[in-house]
Symmetry: none
Subunit: 204 residues, 4 copies
């Protein structure tokens, strides 16, 4: 087994980093990014505020890494869906399900994203948020349009409005969803999809 000394250190350092980022994400989600002080994060991590700077450049760089990590994983999931070339309805179902899975895995990051996205995207450093949002919009809009063309989705709806409706509806769930609750992400996705696709009114 090679380099018995170096390997575990790299891993341990990365693990610590991840640990601290998870802590930070939790606090950011709970109190809001601006309202969170680095001292609070450090308290939660059981260290002093200054010690965080051994691991990270700044409070902002923590935020950046949290969001990047989340978006990277999100897009890994989305891309897998998009590349499998399903029909529009199945694509929508798969995207919604994938979204709830991401909320399950990255609840804090999603909550932060939801709250801070608008302000952050204006900053150079967080341009990747705007990029992601554009790709996001393209993926959803084209799915909806394909669905209308294929007579799978109702043609009488404003597609952009529908896009916003579905998008926001799914993601705000991060603000109340608690992982490990009674519903699995797949179960919630199923119920959401049922409402979104067929409505809540009784069919006559």
């Amino acid at each position: 087994m090679p380099t018995k000394k170096k390997e575990p250190q790299v891993t341990a350092a990365a693990a610590r980093r991840r640990e601290l980022l998870d802590t930070a994400a939790e606090v950011f989600a709970e109190q809001g990014y601006n309202a969170t002080t680095v001292r609070t994060i450090a308290d939660h991590a059981g260290m002093l505020a200054g010690s965080l700077y051994y691991h990270f450049d700044s409070k902002e760089s923590m935020l950046e890494e949290i969001l990047r990590t989340f978006l990277d994983e999100l897009w890994a999931g989305y891309d897998a869906v998009l590349e499998s070339e399903l029909g529009p309805r199945e694509t929508l179902e798969a995207l919604v399900t994938e979204s709830f899975r991401e909320i399950d895995r990255h609840r804090a990051a999603v909550a932060i994203y939801q709250k801070e996205n608008r302000q952050l995207a204006a900053q150079e450093r967080f341009a990747f948020l705007a990029d992601s949002q554009r790709r996001f919009e393209k993926a959803w809009l084209s799915t909806l349009e394909r669905g209308v063309a294929a007579d799978v989705f109702r043609p009488d709806l404003d597609v952009r409005l529908t896009y916003r409706f579905v998008r926001d509806t799914v993601w705000v769930a991060a603000s109340w969803y608690r992982p490990g609750g009674q519903h699995s992400p797949e179960e919630i996705a199923r119920q959401y999809l049922s409402m979104v696709l067929d409505g809540i009114a009784v069919r006559r």
Copy 2:
């Protein structure tokens, strides 16, 4: 009995106050409450930071007044709907429509409410937010339950999940809605209701 001279002054002062609150609300909505400095508000109002304290006690009291004003009007509208004792579907339609009207009238306040609600509600001073939310939940839940009982809404719905679904669906619109755009609030309400009630899938 007040002199004829006093009246217009009081009104003028109240109007100025309202003007400043509108400005503040706009900035809070745009940048987030915490990220907004009193100086920024003052800049937008064409005065210096210190001058705001002639009109208001504190930054927080501005926030409070903005939210109270909004919720007062919201509940005036909601109460009118609830007191007219419509059927469950009609109640839901009326509540949704009323909500979009409020978004139209108080876009900034709604956006602030959406973003800051969670953190604020924990504070004594903003207990009225939690109260409102409880009343809100009660009104919606009972409407949905009445609807299920009356066989107007699907019986297989998880009512709490549906409540969150409808609530989020409506209010998130504040994050992208711009008053004076191409859709009137009533038009948007109609489309949202169509999606919520009948779904986006084509009926077979």
Copy 3:
């Protein structure tokens, strides 16, 4: 008389600014820029550290303004000399005399300049220091070269070395010169010039 209100405020504000910069310059010169805390400056100015930020953006911007103000005045003096097209020896005498006058007027700024110039010039923000130094070198070198060509200065000296010799010799004086002492700047200049031009050895 126009605007009885605005005028004096502008002047008063500018005067205060100057006052604070003079204080800061004194402390920077005394303790070194890096070793000086804004608290120390504020103490000397009789205010709290945070209050300085009402007048200035940052500690660095104070330093910048101190150095710019000094160099602007220095160049006003130098340019007047250079434009009067004196002979090389008279030019050198005038430049040295002008330099001692500047040391007299801006002792602190000169001392700061001497100590921090090298490090600062590397920064974008302080590029004007490097610019100034280039003009400086050109002015002195050409004067010396003219002098050699006109058989006024010794031809057997390395001109660049001589330039450094004269330049540094004059400016380091700022580190010990105290305005209001027994020698006027003109008197010191006269004695320095006597040494620089004719040497300290007895002529045989």
Copy 4:
């Protein structure tokens, strides 16, 4: 009696120490003592900041050792000159030449000394700097006075002013001198002496 194995280790350790001090001196000279972080020194030495503390007590103790080493060597040279009881002009020539040799050997230390001397001398720990400066002044002043008395230096000189002139003239060279350049220290000394003794003007 030490074992044969101990000796080379002691020497190796001392060599490492010297190496690190040279590195530190270089960085101090380049960036200024206060602006230099322990991390920067460690970077230049290819180790981590904490590791320096195996070799040295503190950043300040590194500075002290650098300056002490330099001054010890300087005084060894100066004392040799002073003890050989030369005439005043020859003494001055020898001291200047010795000074340029020290600049050549200890450029970084000289530059640090020049920049930090004033602030450091006030500290108890660096009292030796003030001591050295007093001896220095005495040596130079007496040489100049002997020279004036012996009709070797001009009688119209302000001796203190001349002392500062010569002192500054010599030592500032450390700010631009680069060892291994085109001029040897002896050559530079010769030219400086020529200027100081006979002036830069052509003799008529």
